[in-house]
């Protein structure tokens, strides 16, 4: 039964198919007709080798009729399949050609080869395209098939070759050698589906071009903003190119604009990013060049709004600072001026100050650890002569120091903190530079103390032409008063007053009895601790001092004059046998040479005993000054003798005589520095620590810290205390066990 059933089924199928092909024609004539029609159609569609001369294909009536027959027999899909397999079998022709082209290209890297090749492939494709009359579906299938095959046979080297070709279509930098642009080639690409497939490649060519241009034109160009010129360049150079590549199908300018909008903004973004990266890399030097690099900062500001590279900028700048700024080789003044420049620059880039806060933090921490930071800042505040350019803008009016203010939420202009602000970000309101610098430290007292020390040095070094300099200092102090407040600078006020007072007192005393001494009379309590000295002035110097002292006591009986003999200068005139030497020297040097007027030969020990100096080595500098001037000469080990007759006779001797007053460099008066004063304070605190450890037994560090608030004015941090205790431990004053500090008895 099954056998018969199967047979019946096959028979019915057969009959069915036969009827379909035969189209109810008598006999098998229908079948024959179909067979002929199939042959005609396949012959018509057959992909031919275009290298062979061929008659042009014509869509004749016969072909149409044949296709009609096939269509009626519902055999069109089979026809397409047959056609495609024919195409496939013919594809080796194209492959051969492509291989040949690629070999040619590999030889001389001429991009023309690529364009020829692409045009050639296109020709193949056109040649094989089924006639439009067959319907669009037929064509779509064909094109897809052709493209798929084409991509599969394109060698790996094609993509780089294609990239080179695309690059060659870019507008050249120089106007002269403008290449002929053939918009047709882009249509060919489109037809072959190359545009879609190599879209990212084409874009990358564009990106690279832009990158190159930006790097070439903008690197190191900080004076002017480069963003606008670069955008102009994009408009004149890149946009026409983009029109070919992306906007070729646009019929109107409107359409082109719509098409280009998306890709254009991608290109613009890339340009901004490249510029931003470049400026980020250069940021440290840009800051150094400030204010000549304002243009670059403007660029950076605009770019940062376009691309989110703020974190990268912070990173880069912090790294640069770590590498180039915050190391022992950098001068504190340099760090400070760079910090100030950084503040100014980042204010331009990012007015809310988030970037600045992030970047400034390491600098501030570093500066806090430097011992001479305060001194540098203060020296700058008072406008020290030797400090190159001032950190402070002279045109900026001095303002009082600003304390970090609490946020005022009732402020109608209140804005939330920027989104990338850290948790401990303090809105740095546009305060002035000095406030920012002073705020490196927790307390401005350090500054005031250092200021006193500095002022003391400068006033004492003022020398004879005091009034001018004192006036200048007074002006400085007045300005600083606005910043630090009247009360903080009262001591400085007294110091300045001392200077004018001593001038007045001196005038009075001179009127009573003329003296060559013009002392600066300072009030001990208001001046920073000055190093005392035990020099006993010899001979006439002593007499002069005593005379002056006597007059002073007459004038002010309730006051006592105590000489700081090692400070000041002495103008001496030495009369020797053959010459007269004038020199401006330190008191110690004067004292030394005065001794030689008593006897012509002295030993080093003898001098030091006579002057009351415990260490003879301090003398060596004073001695060497006179040796240099040719007044003294060594006479044996540690013995010196006056050269009454100059050692170098003749013409040179005359030079000596006529030599103008030799000015010996006078050093800054040694004022006990803030650090030393701090050590002094720490000694007081040590008494307290000793007291508490004696009475309360062993204590942990934090307990000592809290107990130390019984000590007046204690303001150390626990870290400082730890350092101090550690130092005490090294001196075996205390021991520590399990964090408990104990007196070492």
């Amino acid at each position: 039964m099954t056998h018969n059933g199967l047979r019946f089924q096959v028979a019915s199928k057969w009959q069915d198919s036969f009827r379909r092909f035969n189209q109810r024609e008598p006999g098998i004539s229908g079948l024959i007709a179909f067979s002929q029609a199939w042959d005609t159609a396949t012959e018509f569609l057959k992909p031919r080798n275009i290298n062979e001369p061929l008659p042009p294909r014509e869509y004749t009536e016969a072909v149409r009729a044949a296709l009609d027959v096939i269509h009626k027999s519902r055999r069109l899909p089979t026809l397409i399949e047959t056609f495609l397999s024919q195409v496939e079998s013919q594809f080796y022709l194209i492959q051969q050609e492509i291989d040949q082209f690629m070999i040619d290209y590999a030889l001389d890297l001429d991009v023309c080869v690529i364009s020829t090749m692409i045009l050639r492939i296109h020709e193949w494709m056109k040649q094989w395209t089924p006639a439009t009359e067959l319907g669009s579906a037929f064509q779509t299938v064909y094109i897809n098939f052709f493209q798929t095959h084409l991509f599969s046979i394109l060698p790996d080297s094609f993509s780089s070759a294609f990239q080179d070709f695309v690059a060659s279509t870019l507008p050249p930098e120089e106007e002269g050698e403008a290449q002929k642009q053939d918009p047709q080639i882009w249509f060919t690409f489109d037809a072959l589906g190359l545009n879609d497939r190599f879209d990212s490649l084409i874009a990358s060519v564009g990106y690279e071009h832009i990158e190159r241009h930006v790097l070439e034109t903008c690197t190191g160009q900080w004076g002017e903003p480069m963003l606008t010129p670069t955008r102009d360049w994009m408009t004149t150079k890149i946009v026409p190119w983009m029109l070919y590549v992306y906007g070729r199908n646009a019929r109107t300018a409107e359409e082109a604009r719509a098409i280009l909008a998306g890709v254009g903004s991608r290109f613009d973004f890339h340009m901004a990013k490249t510029l931003c990266d470049l400026r980020t890399r250069e940021i440290f030097d840009i800051i150094i060049d400030f204010p000549d690099s304002t243009g670059a900062l403007q660029d950076l500001k605009e770019c940062l709004q376009r691309v989110d590279q703020r974190a990268a900028l912070v990173q880069s700048l912090r790294q640069a600072h770590r590498k180039r700024l915050l190391h022992p080789g950098a001068d504190t003044k340099l760090i400070l001026s760079q910090y100030v420049a950084t503040i100014k620059c980042l204010r331009i880039i990012d007015p809310p100050g988030v970037l600045l806060f992030k970047v400034a933090d390491p600098i501030r921490r570093y500066l806090r650890d430097r011992p001479d930071t305060i001194r540098s800042i203060v020296a700058n505040l008072v406008g020290d002569d030797d400090s190159g350019d001032a950190l402070v803008d002279e045109t900026e009016p001095p303002r009082p120091l600003q304390a970090a203010d609490i946020e005022d939420y009732s402020d109608p202009n209140w804005e939330p903190e920027p989104i990338d602000a850290g948790p401990d970000f303090r809105a740095n309101k546009p305060s002035d530079i000095i406030s920012t610098l002073v705020s490196i430290y927790d307390s401005k007292d350090f500054f005031v103390k250092e200021l006193q020390v500095l002022l003391a040095q400068r006033l004492l070094a003022a020398g004879d032409d005091q009034s001018d300099k004192v006036e200048k200092e007074r002006r400085n102090i007045e300005i600083l008063k606005i910043r630090f407040g009247e009360a903080a600078l009262q001591v400085c006020e007294v110091m300045l007053k001392d200077m004018t007072d001593s001038k007045r007192i001196d005038q009075h005393i001179q009127s009573q009895q003329a003296s060559v001494i013009h002392p600066a009379i300072i009030s001990k309590h208001f001046w920073p601790a000055l190093e005392s000295s035990e020099i006993v002035m010899p001979g006439q110097l002593k007499e002069l001092q005593d005379q002056y002292m006597a007059e002073f006591t007459k004038f002010k009986p309730d006051k006592k004059l105590r000489w700081l003999t090692h400070l000041g200068t002495v103008n001496v005139e030495l009369e020797l046998e053959d010459r007269v030497i004038e020199a401006l020297v330190s008191p110690l040097e004067a004292a030394v040479i005065e001794l030689f007027s008593e006897q012509s030969e002295w030993t080093l020990d003898g001098i030091s005993k006579r002057l009351g100096l415990p260490q003879p080595n301090i003398l060596s500098k004073a001695i060497s000054t006179w040796l240099d001037l040719g007044v003294l000469a060594p006479a044996g080990e540690g013995v010196y003798r006056v050269l009454e007759v100059s050692a170098d006779q003749g013409a040179e001797a005359k030079d000596h005589v006529s030599r103008p007053a030799t000015t010996v460099e006078v050093e800054m008066p040694p004022v006990v520095s803030v650090q030393q004063q701090q050590a002094e304070q720490m000694r007081v605190y040590w008494k307290f620590i000793e007291g508490m450890l004696t009475n309360l037994g062993a204590l942990p560090l934090d307990r000592i810290q809290t107990m130390l608030k019984f000590a007046p004015g204690y303001d150390r941090t626990i870290t400082q205390l730890a350092g101090f205790m550690e130092a005490a431990r090294r001196e075996d004053l205390v021991t520590v066990r399990d964090g408990m500090w104990k007196l070492n008895k």
């Binding site: 007081v684 008494k687 307290f688 000793e690 007291g691 508490m692 004696t694 009475n695 309360l696 037994g697 062993a698 204590l699 942990p700 307990r703 809290t706 107990m707 608030k709 019984f710 000590a711 007046p712 408990m740 104990k742």
Partner: protein
């Protein structure tokens, strides 16, 4: 009674102590006087005597240390005392007790109470912690046997060796622990 240390404490702890209790008008000045005394005592470096507040935040409760003076029976021993200042100090004498048991004619061996004229009827506002400590130190070497708190000790005083034995028997060395 919450003591005030407003003149010394930094602002944050200041708030805390201000919350409780009505501030006595004189408390601030008492604290100031005590902190001055502390400063003087710390800087004076008198040998063998010392004192310091027991806790931060309370200037009215001190711990003192007295070393037995040389050439007395107490040489080599260290005594700890407690000093409690009344709120109306210095018009009233501070309460002072030996924390280390001290066998002494004028010291109660159990409570540590001291019989010393300047701490009772002879007190004057010009005395200070330092003068009290010096007086106590000298009291160790020169007891007032006329008004003994510890009659046994008073009677034993003339026999230095037996006395020394009693002292050593009662004495306990200081432990090094925070108060």
């Amino acid at each position: 009674m919450e003591q005030l240390t407003s003149s010394l404490a930094p602002p944050r702890s200041n708030n805390k102590s201000n919350v409780a209790g009505t501030p006595q008008p004189a408390a601030g000045s008492v604290a100031k006087r005590l902190s001055n005394e502390l400063m003087t005592l710390m800087m004076s470096s008198s040998p063998g005597i010392s004192a310091f507040p027991r806790n931060d935040g309370n200037l009215f409760d001190w711990v003192g240390t007295i070393e037995g003076p040389a050439e007395t029976i107490y040489v080599g021993l260290t005594f700890r005392i407690s000093i409690a200042f009344p709120p109306n100090y210095p018009y009233v004498a501070p309460t002072i007790k030996f924390e280390t048991p001290c066998y002494h004619p004028n010291v109660d061996i159990n409570s540590g109470a001291i019989c010393l004229d300047i701490l009772q009827d002879k007190w004057s506002a010009v005395y200070s912690v330092q003068t009290i400590l010096i007086s106590l130190q000298s009291l160790l070497g020169e007891p007032n046997n006329a008004s003994p708190l510890n009659p046994d000790a008073a009677s034993l005083w003339d026999n230095p060796e037996a006395f020394k034995m009693q002292v050593t028997k009662h004495y306990r060395p200081l432990k090094d622990e925070s108060a």
